[in-house]
């Protein structure tokens, strides 16, 4: 991402909007400036800010004049008043930043937008995590911290050492040069991303061991780790295998994503489906 200095009026709105805090007003230039090493190319500034096309020179004059009277020119907090953000042509290896940070950009390797895979969200169709198995999603970088691929490598190496196998369709797995060691290609190790997920599957009895490995690695890397634990429920819809293990480790899970089991191999043919009554007013009050 780049900011066109001819358009920027240094209003400062974008400095709050950047999830990485990588945008600042340069006191010498008097323009918003991006710290490119910290920027993860998430496009939150470009996609998230509303846009106006006010004339930059006029806005700068008004700002300077008002500032003399201690009055502040203040556009709406989610507006770039001069549409100063412009996408950059990204090349390798920087392009991986965007692939893992901008949720609207699909990974070529998986075809899935975002930073991971479908995990247990489609388990009712894929049977990816079976009875007696645990699917871990180990996400680095949240909330609003970011992570570099060397951090992911630290985690993947530790897991590989424990003999686990990585989900082959996961974007991080596709960037490994050796899945048996967890090594990630060296040319991207310094690249920073918003967050990404390492996915593995192990037998239930290895749950505690894996969590302890994650705890150990977490102490050595300068980012946050957030763990998701995916399991198959029994025929009654209950899950009493893994939760007791998590509780023994001191966790008290509050939130979960529950697959309610409505997925089928064949999606319903709606050719003759009854039409739905459309609400007249679709704009919520």
């Amino acid at each position: 991402m780049k900011i066109n200095p001819a358009k920027c009026v240094a209003c400062g709105n974008c400095t709050y909007v950047c999830p990485m805090g990588a945008i600042y007003i340069d006191p010498q230039l008097q323009r918003a400036t991006i710290n490119r090493d910290e920027c993860v190319e998430c496009y939150a500034c470009y996609n998230g800010l509303s846009k106006e096309v006010l004339p930059p020179s006029t806005v700068r004059f008004v700002r300077r004049t008002l500032a003399n009277f201690r009055v502040r020119f203040e556009p709406e907090p989610d507006v770039c008043p001069t549409t100063a953000f412009e996408p950059d042509q990204l090349e390798w290896p920087r392009v991986v930043r965007r692939a893992f940070s901008d949720p609207r950009v699909p990974h070529e390797s998986t075809g899935v937008s975002g930073r991971g895979t479908e995990e247990v969200k489609t388990n009712d169709v894929t049977d990816r995590v079976g009875i007696g198995e645990v699917g871990f999603t180990i996400e680095l970088g949240r909330p609003g911290i970011g992570a570099r691929f060397r951090d992911f490598q630290e985690m993947s190496r530790a897991l590989a050492k424990a003999g686990v196998s990585f989900e082959k369709n996961n974007p991080i797995s596709t960037l490994m040069t050796d899945v048996t060691t967890g090594d990630i290609r060296t040319d991207i190790l310094n690249e920073k991303v918003m967050s990404a997920i390492i996915e593995i599957k192990v037998p239930v009895e290895r749950t505690e061991e894996i969590i302890r490995i994650i705890w150990d690695v977490e102490k050595r890397i300068p980012t946050q780790v957030v763990i998701g634990v995916g399991v198959r429920c029994d025929a009654d819809g209950e899950e009493n295998l893994v939760l007791p293990i998590l509780e023994k480790l001191g966790y008290n899970p509050q939130r979960a994503k529950t697959n309610i089991g409505l997925g089928r191999k064949v999606i319903r043919d709606l050719t003759n489906a009854a039409p739905l009554a459309q609400p007249k007013e679709m704009v919520n009050a």
Binding site: S50, E119, V231, A256, T258, I260, K265, D269
Partner: protein
């Protein structure tokens, strides 16, 4: 990915927060057949009947989106309202389609209806464990699989700024910065914006439309009066 899973907060803070989303199994190995997009359009049309707080298409955005204006007054005062029609009409490719509910009754009624529709799509509820369990019970569905969030390892109940994290993590892709959440909290405290305005400002950054403005308003009301 896990964008709906790791919302920060205790179970009781999800009292008005139910994300119900559908998706097809995309991998060839899954062997799923049929018109997923048509089924997802029906899923979202039905969701619109149950008074959602938001609808979201992961590819094109939610019911509140950034706007463009050529006028200096274009963004003063009146801003766009949540527009469900735009979400429904913009759906062009099967993916993750989400409906966010702020009422238990509406969420549970929607889940029951979707079960009856038998669309064949995978449907997930992202909320507190209890909320999802109750919705399944109401619809007479045994849960198939569950993904527990173990939370942020270093964020505790007494972490300063935890309400900013609660707001910011409502966009699980991280598009809503903690700095903007804090700025909106300050704006509400200073009475420069109402909680509703501040919540809608933040919602425009959530690119898949799962930001819950009702929960955000409640958090911001707490912030205004100093409730931790």
């Amino acid at each position: 990915m896990t964008n709906t899973l790791h919302r920060y907060g205790k179970s009781e803070t999800f009292v008005d927060d139910y994300i119900v989303f559908s998706l097809p199994a995309k991998s060839k190995a899954a062997g799923q057949t049929g018109d997923a997009l048509a089924a997802q359009k029906r899923f979202m049309q039905i969701a619109a009947e149950y008074k959602p707080a938001s609808l979201g298409d992961a590819l094109h955005g939610g019911s509140l989106r950034p706007t463009k204006s050529k006028s200096i007054f274009g963004h003063w005062g009146k801003r766009n309202k949540p527009n469900f029609k735009k979400v429904l009409e913009g759906m062009s490719k099967a993916g993750t389609m989400a409906a966010v509910f702020d009422s238990r009754a509406n969420a549970e009624a929607f889940v029951k209806r979707i079960k009856e529709e038998d669309l064949g799509l995978s449907v997930n509820i992202s909320s507190s464990i209890e909320n999802a369990k109750n919705a399944c019970k109401h619809a007479g569905i045994p849960r198939h699989s569950i993904a527990y969030s173990l939370g942020f390892e270093e964020v505790g109940d007494n972490t300063p700024g935890k309400q900013a994290i609660m707001l910011s993590t409502m966009c699980g892709h991280g598009m809503l910065s903690i700095n903007l959440a804090q700025k909106m909290m300050s704006f509400v405290k200073e009475n420069r914006r109402t909680p509703k305005e501040a919540a809608e400002t933040m919602a425009r950054f959530c690119s898949c439309g799962i930001f819950n403005t009702t929960r955000a308003r409640r958090i911001l009301e707490d912030v205004r009066v100093g409730v931790k």
